[in-house]
Symmetry: C2
């Protein structure tokens, strides 16, 4: 879904020669028909082959299933090649930072929309605010057409969507890491052009929990109102459980039944329009005065290129980051989260400029916080 968008963006740049590797021949033929690039049908779970493949190129971009995320990062580092990654992984990728530093490899992970551009915004804010008091990240990838009852389609692997509904979320409150239940703290927010969305805690702060000094940080995913309650009901009913139950004399895993019943309806139709909403709020003092910095993104399906918004907003940050690495604007060895890049002078601004050139346009608003509202 996203890899082909990344490949096309880089292939359209005469500075790059692009090879796309995947085990799916049909997917390779589809992208080869749309862009000037090489394709290679390969099992990327074969780590020796992966290292060899990486060694034959200057920069590697990763868009892997979550269970292959960490092993791919390690293989590319071992091949001593730069890496820009959008793969979700449950593990902490920064554990490989020492290996990367030792090999002189620059790797940037979590480099999509959120985590991704949201981290860069936080990194930039951390250079502007003394103290940095509060960070809020709200993100949504949604279908434009809302159909009862779930009003939802999955812009990435639907199994990872259900993970969002069961995995506890780490937030930061009063300077401490607090674990909140999945689907907790629902709140309604209005977005111009979209309407009211319902936000709930998800485990998306990731590296920010440790890299940012703000004592209060939340990350929330959003859905159209109503979806969250239904997911809470299905979870309560046991339908998201991975523990097998006896049904008609067989052992059946409820979550697999949920997947079989839900996912067909959660799949985007060909050409179906989606949208991405991202809001990042950073609060703190700038030059002694409390301010609220706010970035907003509303991005929509691109009918002219038939590219889904979630593919654009997730893929372009990675291809732009790859250019930062290619031209040396960010060349520090190690495994880095995007906030490290965002904290470097000019790079978050350059990211926003390049995204805007691709139609992914953030707005920025900064305003003083009335003193009565300051903590």
């Amino acid at each position: 879904m996203v890899g082909s968008t990344m490949a096309e963006d880089l292939a359209a740049d005469e500075n790059f020669e692009v090879t796309v590797a995947d085990r799916d021949r049909v997917a390779l033929e589809r992208v080869a028909g749309r862009a000037r690039l090489h394709t290679l049908c390969a099992d990327l779970g074969d780590l020796a082959a992966l290292r060899e493949l990486a060694a034959g190129h200057d920069i590697v971009l990763g868009a892997m299933p979550s269970h292959m995320g960490l092993q791919t990062l390690r293989a590319v580092i071992e091949a001593k090649r730069s890496y820009v990654d959008i793969s979700f992984m449950a593990e902490d990728p920064l554990v490989l930072s020492e290996l990367a530093r030792a090999g002189g490899v620059t790797a940037i992970v979590d480099c999509g929309v959120a985590p991704g551009t949201s981290n860069m915004a936080a990194g930039w804010a951390s250079t502007q605010l003394r103290p940095f008091r509060r960070l809020e990240v709200y993100v949504a990838g949604l279908p434009v057409v809302r159909r009862w009852p779930f009003q939802y389609k999955a812009p990435f692997a639907p199994a990872d969507v259900i993970e969002e509904y069961v995995r506890p979320a780490r937030i930061v409150s009063g300077g401490r890491v607090v674990v909140r239940p999945a689907l907790s703290d629902p709140e309604l927010l209005d977005f111009p052009g979209v309407g009211t969305l319902e936000a709930f805690n998800t485990d998306g702060l990731r590296s920010l929990v440790h890299t940012m000094p703000a004592p209060d940080m939340i990350e929330k995913t959003m859905r159209y109102p109503g979806h969250v309650e239904l997911m809470r009901v299905l979870r309560e009913t046991g339908l998201f459980s991975e523990t097998a139950i006896a049904v008609g004399g067989q052992a059946v895993v409820p979550r697999e039944v949920a997947a079989a019943l839900l996912f067909p309806g959660w799949t985007y139709d060909v050409g179906e329009a989606d949208l991405t909403v991202l809001r990042v709020v950073a609060e703190g003092d700038r030059d002694g005065s409390p301010v609220r910095m706010q970035w907003d993104l509303l991005d929509r399906y691109d009918a002219s290129t038939e590219t889904r918004s979630m593919s654009r907003t997730t893929g372009f940050p990675a291809t732009i980051m790859a250019r930062f690495v290619a031209d040396g604007r960010f060349a520090e060895p190690g495994v880095h989260p995007p906030e490290t890049v965002g904290a470097r002078a000019g790079l978050f601004e350059a990211m926003l400029t390049e995204l805007s050139a691709r139609g992914v346009a953030f707005t920025y608003d900064e305003r003083p916080i009335p003193s009565g509202l300051t903590p």
Copy 2:
């Protein structure tokens, strides 16, 4: 759940000698400990044995699972014994009326709360109203304590509850039988002492569709608000489907998964309080003036006898009807719905008196319909 209440009520009457037959020895021992009666452990699916058992008694009361309803009725008729039945059956029991008449057997079916007392009210109303314009029946059996998300427990076989959520409902509109989807036409109604309930079409008119002259008739089941929407969602998701789907290489019937996940939470705890709400509205002209006749019942769990309200409101109409048959107040051969009995002078009033003596107290209200509201 209901059979033991029926047996206890009859056993407490010195005019009767009672035998309870069931295949469940534990259930038999439980009821034997509570009342002066005989028990017989028997497979009532063995129709020859059933006929023999029936022949040894004067009157038979039936409280059978739905799939055994019709065959039990037939066996009792063949044994030439009177029968009072509360079993739900998908089939039309009146097809056996000719057989009953030929054998001189009096059988009254659907003799619970609704269908049951509601039919008797309709039958009585049909003798009072010329024309009889409209009949409305609203019924609910609910737990007193409402727990998120379903706020529901099943007072009878939960598989039959799910049937209510999928089986289309026949209503009568403008003099024609109209089939409406299950869970359709939800409406909110307030009941003193209970609060707001949500009513939806169920297929409970049954014989009334054909026996009553009213051109507009509805029957609705009620739940606490919110339940209906969740059932619509689960149905839409496919969880009530009886068609097997492939899950992890196995064929799995979604409704069996739903049963395994939902029913444990839908089971009343020992001693848990329930309530029954019934409202019957009949509209038409009495002596040339439009009137609205309305019967209301709010019945609650009886802690002193540890008897669930649904068992009381369903079981007592049958035991009272059995007395009508025993003392000859209703002795017409054939298979009869309760409205036929209710139309006989004095019998619906006698039913209400006897129910009230058992603490199941209806209220009755009759008021003129302002002429502006008359069709």
